[in-house]
């Protein structure tokens, strides 16, 4: 395939070389035609002048008239010149023109020889003419030229009356000698012409090769130029977009030279500084910043200028710029070096952070409010548990009160009253009545019986009163525990973790007991910890309450909550609260701590959310684990033993 292409290319180049050669030949012929178009008329004039000079008049005795040579020069010379001149002017470059010119030129030689009376010196015109004809670089025209010379000499010898032609003397074939000399010159001219044409051919081939190379180069140049144009177009579009982006950017963007002078800035920067680009261009960027900002800017420029170029290196600082009215504007300055070229150029992106700072302040305030709400929610959860447990105890109180009420209402006091009434009725004859009356006979026994019953009732009522008192004490305990946490701040203090956990169990104890939930608590021996008592209790109470609800819904008789407190590393502890409750669906594990999320109808979704927030505040982690619905759950509360070392963290779980 490649060889075929090369062959085609070589053929095309050969054709082009041929074309160039022909064009060159044509150009040479035309130049020679123009030369002879001048030379032939000059020769004609020279012939006329020679005729007038040599033989102006012919004489007959004393009489004279214009010599026929003058007319010959004028008319025959004009005739000889006419057609070559016409052809050279009108049909320049053709082979026929060349041949006609060659014939005409040699005829002019012959005419001149005639007019000079055959002077041998005039014959040199023949050789000069042949040399001139060689200008055509076409050896073929030497043939008619030579033929004309030979014919001229031959015919002159043949037709002149006293010619030596045919006479065998010393020089009868002189014309042949002359023609031989012409052929001698022809030989050299032909060699010279051939050599010249070979050189023309070489030139044509070289030029064809050069053109082919040039075409290839031009094609490459066009291709590259087109590609470059496309790239430039894309670059301009990209530049336009970039410029529009920069102009539309909300941040102020400036370019700064190595001396800290402003080179350009976008519209946002103009608005930010309250000054136009034309005013700022060339001025020091220091003018845009307040006192601290200048130092920051200069330090940033120095840092970027002195360090090796790194395209990703940037200096980011929060500082302030000075508006045109002098008021400061908090900004974030992002300075980077544009290129590695020296001197360096920097690009500064100035972001107005006034709103961000205001938002941060508002956020901080909201966070505080949120924490307070969370704290209150947590407290509300505890209060709910407390109230729930108090309610449970109150149920026992009510039962006891009902029993007492029933006992009181059904006591033998009425029977005793009726016996007393009978005795009152028979006050005067009590003995007779008891002795003789049938009813009276049964009265002592009835009174004994009533007494026994009253004693029994009293004993039962006393038992109920004891239980009632106990329950009231229980309520008192619950309320006391709760009261002990109400109003407490989140201050970190040294506490016994076991006591806290027991309090949490106690708060839920009534409910746990009523629902027959078995709580198993095991713990490592841990030193007192520095935690927020309030926060810790809220976390544990909420998680425990959650576990209680979970086991209540497990549909089994066995309801169990395992609480395990373990030391975790040197400075942390880990509290696991495991239950065999209804478990947590996998899709709910990620949102179990979300605000408002609950699976209970009566739940409100605050408890675990509050617990998670509090855990985060404590620098602790609260996580939930479950193997799925019906497979129980495990909540892990990992917390530092010294919360005073923990930074305050703000956030929601």
């Amino acid at each position: 395939m490649l060889s075929a292409v090369n062959a085609t290319s070589a053929t095309a180049m050969h054709d082009r070389a041929e074309e160039l050669f022909r064009a060159h030949q044509r150009d040479i012929s035309r130049r020679a035609d123009r030369l002879f178009a001048v030379l032939l008329p000059l020769e004609w004039l020279a012939c006329v002048a020679a005729a007038i000079w040599i033989s102006p008049l012919t004489w007959v005795g004393l009489n004279s008239q214009t010599h026929p040579h003058v007319w010959t020069a004028l008319l025959l010379g004009g005739a000889i010149v006419s057609l070559p001149l016409y052809m050279a002017l009108r049909h320049s470059g053709t082979a026929l023109t060349r041949h006609v010119v060659a014939v005409g030129q040699m005829l002019m030689s012959g005419l001149l020889i005639h007019l000079t009376g055959g002077r041998i010196e005039t014959h040199f015109h023949v050789f000069g003419s042949l040399a001139f004809l060689a200008f055509y670089r076409d050896w073929r025209i030497l043939l008619p030229a030579t033929a004309v010379v030979a014919a001229d000499h031959f015919l002159r010898g043949m037709f002149w009356p006293e010619s030596v032609f045919g006479v065998l003397v010393a020089s009868p074939w002189r014309w042949l000698e002359h023609a031989g000399w012409v052929l001698f010159e022809d030989t050299f001219l032909i060699i010279a012409i051939r050599q010249s044409r070979l050189e023309m051919g070489d030139m044509a081939r070289q030029r064809a090769e050069l053109e082919a190379t040039q075409q290839v180069i031009e094609a490459k140049v066009i291709e590259r130029t087109n590609a470059l144009s496309a790239v430039q177009l894309r670059l301009r579009e990209s530049e336009g977009r970039l410029r529009a982006t920069i102009e539309c950017a909300g941040d102020g963007i400036l370019t700064i030279d190595g001396q800290g002078r402003i080179e350009s800035l976008n519209g946002a920067a103009e608005r930010m500084f309250g000054r136009v680009a034309a005013e700022l261009a060339g001025r020091s960027a220091d003018e845009l910043f307040d006192e601290s900002g200048r130092a920051v800017l200069q330090a940033a420029i120095r840092a970027l200028r002195d360090a090796p170029y790194n395209p990703s290196a940037a200096e980011r600082h929060e500082t302030a710029v000075a508006r045109s009215d002098g008021t400061p504007l908090p900004v974030e300055l992002n300075l980077s070096r544009m290129t590695a070229q020296e001197p360096p150029t920097f690009i500064a992106v100035v972001h107005d952070i006034s709103q961000r700072r205001q938002a941060a302040r508002q956020l901080e305030e909201l966070q505080k409010q949120h924490l307070e709400v969370a704290r209150r929610i947590g407290m509300a959860e505890i209060a709910t548990s407390v109230l729930h447990n108090v309610g449970n105890v109150l149920n026992s109180v009510n039962v006891a009160a009902s029993v007492i009420n029933d006992k009181v209402r059904k006591s033998a006091t009425a029977d005793l009253g009726r016996a007393i009434g009978l005795l009152e009725l028979h006050r005067d004859d009590v003995a007779e009545y008891i002795a003789r009356d049938e009813q009276g006979k049964h009265l002592p026994g009835f009174i004994v019986e009533v007494g026994r019953k009253l004693a029994a009732d009293e004993e039962e009522i006393l038992a109920e009163v004891v239980a009632l008192t106990k329950n009231i004490d229980h309520i008192k305990d619950i309320v006391t525990v709760q009261q002990s946490y109400v109003g407490m701040s989140g201050t970190v203090e040294k506490v016994s973790l076991e006591e806290l956990i027991q309090d949490a169990i106690r708060i839920n104890s009534a409910s746990l007991g009523r629902h027959e939930v078995e709580v198993v608590y095991v713990a490592d021996e841990l030193p007192e910890a520095l935690v927020s008592r309030q926060k810790f209790l809220q976390v544990v109470v909420n998680v425990l309450s959650n576990a209680k609800y979970a086991v209540m819904q497990n549909g089994r008789n066995e309801r169990r909550i395992d609480i395990e407190l373990r030391k975790e590393g040197a400075d942390r502890a880990r509290l696991e609260i495991r239950d065999n409750g209804i478990g947590i669906a996998p899709e709910n594990l990620t949102r179990i701590f979300a605000h408002g999320f609950t699976t209970r109808k009566e739940g409100h979704g605050f408890g675990l959310h509050s617990a998670a927030n509090l855990a985060q505040e404590m620098g602790a982690e609260l996580s939930a684990h479950s193997d799925g619905v019906g497979r129980g759950a495990k909540f892990v509360f990992s917390f530092p033993l010294d919360a005073s070392q923990q930074p305050l963290t703000v956030g929601t779980a």
Binding site: V60, L62, V100, G117, W160, E162, V164, V167, R174
Partner: protein, 230 residues
């Protein structure tokens, strides 16, 4: 130049049923016609000039014996060569050139006399320039004026360039022109014959013609006998 313009109009062939091309017709283009006209004009021109150059001058018989009436000195020791020239005829130059060639080769074999003929009626100035010029050109020759062409008439010379050679004893060896054509230099049969006659001493029998200007008007009465200068 002929241009062939072939046409391939179909002509049916009854024998073969094949379509055969019509033979191409030859058409003369204007350029070819122009070329032909040019060549014809040149031929006519050359014919005219050839006719002029090839036409001999008037020919009169030269005396077979040196005329006794002649006042010209005849060399009794070697042949005497005479040439009569018209003083203003351009053709004279060619004759003198040929004569010079001969004299250069045969200067010791003859004595040359060149007679510059003043036609009857001409004054002395007519030939003066020519005399001095020829004398300068041919120092070995005796150049003399021939007033009224008296000697020319005696020797039968009517055309410029007419040359005569007489032997030492006065016999005519050669008579005629020595140029190949009118006004043309170069080798000629007559010049060769003259040289041979001078060398051999034998008379050239061929009638040689002279090509040049007539020395006298056709109507001149001096052609028959020398006119005497008035």
């Amino acid at each position: 130049m002929i241009e062939l313009k072939g046409t391939h109009a179909a002509t049916g062939s009854a024998d073969t049923g094949l379509t055969q091309p019509v033979a191409p017709r030859v058409a003369l283009t204007p350029r070819v016609a122009l070329l032909a006209a040019w060549l014809a004009a040149l031929a006519a021109g050359y014919a005219a000039i050839s006719r002029f150059e090839g036409t001999p001058g008037a020919q009169r018989a030269a005396p077979a014996i040196w005329p006794s009436a002649s006042e010209l000195p005849r060399d009794s020791t070697r042949p005497t060569l005479l040439m009569f020239v018209h003083p203003r005829c351009p053709c004279t130059a060619a004759s003198l050139q040929v004569l010079t060639e001969i004299l250069n080769r045969k200067s010791d074999e003859c004595s040359a006399l060149i007679l510059v003929v003043s036609p009857p009626g001409a004054d002395e100035s007519f030939a003066a320039e020519s005399l001095s010029h020829i004398a300068a050109e041919l120092p070995s020759a005796d150049v003399r004026p021939d007033a009224d062409g008296a000697e020319a008439v005696r020797f039968g010379a009517a055309t410029s360039g007419q040359s005569l050679a007489y032997s030492a004893d006065g016999r005519l060896l050669f008579a005629g022109g020595i140029t190949p054509a009118r006004g043309q230099q170069g080798e000629s049969a007559s010049a060769t014959a003259l040289a041979a006659a001078l060398l051999s001493g034998r008379a050239d029998a061929a009638g040689r013609r002279a090509f040049g200007c007539p020395l006298f008007d056709e109507s001149s009465s001096c052609l028959e006998q020398p006119c005497s200068r008035q």
